[in-house]
Symmetry: C2
DNA sequence: CTGAAAGCGCTTACAG
DNA sequence: CTGAAAGCGCTTACAG
């Protein structure tokens, strides 16, 4: 049952292996009669070509590799789904690899893909990841970077307009009448987190000149958001709005407030970034910037396919624009404009 | 940068390709000096072996394939994460493939894995999927089935004790004092859904003899749960508890109740199955049966590795026992025991 | 339109 | 301990 090779089919069909290969791959230099006979026999013998052998001689694996920091949670799940969608449209296989946050393993993961894939989608959200492209880690494979610092060198990269998104959120909060807007930052070495922080700082300086930015540390986890929330409540004067660099931290913050009997948005407004599914379900609903992660994955995959020559034209490399989603957590301040 | 082959390394190191192969693969029949030299040169040339070539000659791909119905949502994400964890421990690559609910493509997906992977993890949650193993679709690859009907024939399968879980939930609801317990069923052709339904029926017959089971149709989606919820409210007498075959439907049902001003659990109790993350966050918290999906994936992967000879002993094939998680949605009935 | 042969980049008996 | 050679299962110029 196993291990039927092209030779077996050739013998059964009374033709050469070359002819079998041509017939099955739809080359036009085969008689229709032969093609049909070969196809029937192959089918009946349950033949399917050995991918490794095929890759070796054709120098094409018909697979793409996805190298991610982790596999946990909605973000990666959606990203992979978007990539998968495009891969399927093109009949490509998907090899996923997560380096579980061990940055030093990222290069190895990429190199180990040689001979398995035709190209690589890599997410390396570290502030300083300029090395990866030249790394040769890519083993010379075509590469598209996702949510990563642009690494120059003919590197193609796709990301989210984090800066613009953060600016938009600050403007929304200011428009709601909030004046003391605190920010819970993401991990120090995270590229997206940096951009969001910059957006916050700049928008604040522009819209509320003279106001001191108030930035608390965080690491994108719910618990760090909780810690920040507790700390914020101890401040005097207390901020009247909190903008967390991602939704998970905003939720942690929300629970801290709820536990302390502080009402959102009446006592303090709250906003996040990402629009994870939970954001819609918590009470009050969380105002946030929606990032279309599925689309991010799909578009990055298309960019890679374009490099591989599988798709006519590449989508633009312009960052995906997040979208403001206003829910209850950021309702306008009553009796606004008090400093 | 690209395409450094073993030949290049051999030339640079002044040895044969055989020696390079042996040195790099840690065979013991190489001088330490040679091994070091070869390793250094390979490193410096940024050599990494071509996986397809290696697979072809060694008849080992060091990869396993995962064939799933879909990639959407928490369930598959957690499953893949569990599999990935074990794969990494063994230095194996992961090929994922979803057939997007197109059952007819499942066989093709499995066959296309030939030459890419050493074994297959397949989830085929259809009531009648007996064909897959013999299908030869497996191309003779070792196979472990997840959440699938046992297909005999030396097939190894791992699943969740859905029946037991459903029984436990019904008993819990009965213990809370509920007497008219409705059930929202899952898809007709889904194996897990069937088992849960059987558990409900049997437990009901045993604990509340004479009671008519009340089963509404559903398809595991939130919207089908919503529909069922609306319909249930129109019934007289109205049930005093609803057990949905999965959490998503329970949530849909919850929203239907909330919209209608019916309070949970005061007016009607509610329970689900799976313990998705949302279950903890909705209000009231959803009582449910927790299924450890990560563990399901990890254990299935270990079973496959055992078949491949990569792991000494296989974990038992006994189904994973789900765990009752009591939250607010199923509080004991006030003034119990009214029929 | 078809076949014989070389070659893809490795691994692994087989000699020495 | 090391090398020359065969072979893994395909694809693809090259002849005819």
């Amino acid at each position: 049952m196993a291990g039927v090779t092209i030779k077996d089919v050739a013998r059964a069909a009374n033709v050469s292996v070359a002819t079998v290969s041509r017939a099955l791959n739809g080359h036009d230099n085969v008689t229709d009669e032969v093609r049909r006979r070969v196809a029937a026999i192959a089918e009946q013998m349950n033949y399917s070509p050995h991918a490794a052998a095929r890759s070796l001689s054709s120098r094409r694996t018909h697979a793409i590799g996805v190298v991610l920091p982790d596999l946990y949670g909605e973000f990666f799940s959606e990203l992979v789904r978007g990539i998968d969608q495009v891969a399927r449209e093109h009949g490509l296989h998907l090899l996923v690899s997560s380096y579980h946050g061990h940055r030093e393993e990222q290069g190895a993961a990429m190199r180990a893909m040689r001979g398995r894939v035709d190209g690589l989608l890599v997410m390396s959200p570290y502030a300083a990841s300029a090395g990866i492209v030249g790394d040769g880690g890519a083993a010379g494979l075509p590469l598209v970077l996702i949510n990563s610092q642009d690494a120059g060198e003919g590197a193609v990269a796709l990301g989210v307009a984090n800066y613009d998104g953060a600016v938009a959120m600050v403007e929304h909060l200011v428009d709601c009448g909030h004046r003391r807007i605190a920010f819970i930052a993401g991990p120090d070495d995270n590229f997206d987190a940096h951009q969001r922080l910059s957006g916050y700082r700049d928008a604040l300086a522009r819209r509320l000149p003279g106001t001191e930015p108030l930035v608390l540390p965080g690491d994108f986890s719910e618990s760090s958001g909780h810690r920040a929330g507790v700390e914020l409540l101890a401040r005097t004067p207390r901020p009247d709005a909190v903008f967390a660099a991602n939704d998970m931290m905003a939720l942690g913050c929300l629970f801290a407030f709820t536990q302390a009997g502080v009402r959102v948005p009446d006592d303090i407004a709250l906003a996040g970034f990402d629009d994870i599914p939970l954001a819609r379900f918590v009470h009050p609903g969380l105002t946030t910037m929606r990032v279309d992660i599925f689309e991010l994955g799909a578009r990055a995959a298309r960019m890679l396919l374009a490099r591989l020559g599988d798709e006519r034209e590449s989508p633009p490399a312009t960052p995906l624009q997040p979208q403001l989603v206003v829910r209850e957590s950021s309702a306008p301040r009553r009796g606004a404009d008090s400093s």
